[in-house]
Point group: C2
Chain length 215, copies 2
């Protein structure tokens, strides 16, 4: 029997890699992070344990790659849509976030990592560095472009603004206080941009008074 | 030996009740909600198991009373400070929230409940109904008073505004993305009220034109 050629072997590797990433994501949603094992991932993916250990040092490392795969691929820099209209673009991204968080494929593993991170700050720090901060940085970048285009006030704190956009979504999703919706995403964007304070009363038109003339 | 008089017995009951509530809060922070038992609460509080079962049907019920005790007592309606200045009052409340969330006595049990609620939506719903929603309702009430006083735009969505205030705090605390601070609380309030959009250019002063006179 002929030995496998390189292209075949590489296709087979890619198939195994995908199967492992999918299995890790499914399993952590089913059993939680604490009970997730490399053995179970290998069994679900139909590969040997040694195949996983050849590519990843730990179950956490497998999981992070599973999440990164979903948000554009490991190592890929995330950038947000920029049509020049910050309100429309922010609504697009936040609506997509609502859809993703409502999808059990993504929601269950995310809940498992959040639950575990509550009592394991080191895991939480890894999740932040590998998965969350690149997304927050992409938001900050998009807001900075809007600021440079004169659509956002020059003294606005952009990091705080990002947390005002994603924080309400995360609060409602994580605590399940109310259903999420595109209308919720839109209302957040409108109020983050426009504020909720009563707009200042229009300045009264200056009373025309005779003044010194210009020469 | 004389039998205990009623006042003594009532004082002793109150002492036991406080010991039980404190023990439940400490223990859930130490071992998590899943491993919390009525037996362990009784042992830590120095009371018999039957004393706890006489007053509470479950460990969750004990815990909710522990949280309510901290936020003003079970059954007490929560209202927020109203000095007439919504910006100052909101900063006061949000700074206090930052301080509470940074206090391990409150933070550890809260993290334990949040972790458990991720995979137990029924527990999450109870936490919301008993502990969280009364606090969100108090915020909404304070914003409504400001709206009636003409400080908040009449068309602002107050529920979304509340989540824009507490969501960023919860996001940063729960995910430990950055340290919390009073400056963070202040920035959130300022940007939620004022918005981050570039203020519209001032309307040019109307050109004085001769108009119809008033009689």
């Amino acid at each position: 029997m002929a030995r496998k050629t390189a292209p075949d072997s590489s296709r087979r590797s890619e198939r195994s890699r995908r199967a492992i990433l999918d299995a890790a994501l499914e399993l952590v949603g089913e059993v939680g992070f604490g009970k997730l094992t490399i053995e179970a991932i290998a069994a679900r993916a139909g590969v040997g344990k040694q195949t996983i250990y050849r590519w990843w040092p730990s179950k956490a490392a497998v999981l992070f790659d599973s999440f990164l795969e979903q948000s554009g691929g490991a190592g890929a820099e995330i950038t947000l849509l920029d049509t020049g209209d910050i309100v429309a673009d922010a609504k697009d991204v936040l609506r997509a976030t609502v859809d993703t968080m409502d999808d059990p494929k993504y929601a269950l593993p995310t809940r498992a990592l959040i639950a575990e991170s509550q009592s394991d700050p080191e895991l939480g720090a890894e999740v932040n560095a590998r998965v969350l901060e690149p997304q927050l940085a992409a938001w900050t970048g998009r807001l900075r472009a809007a600021q440079e285009a004169g659509q956002i006030a020059p003294d606005a704190d952009l990091r705080v603004a990002v947390e005002m956009l994603v924080g309400p979504i995360f609060h409602r999703w994580s605590l399940r206080t109310l259903p999420m919706s595109h209308a919720y995403a839109d209302a957040i964007v409108d109020q983050v941009l426009g504020g909720i304070a009563m707009p200042p009363a229009p300045t009264p038109a200056p009373v025309a008074t005779p003044g010194p003339t210009d020469s």
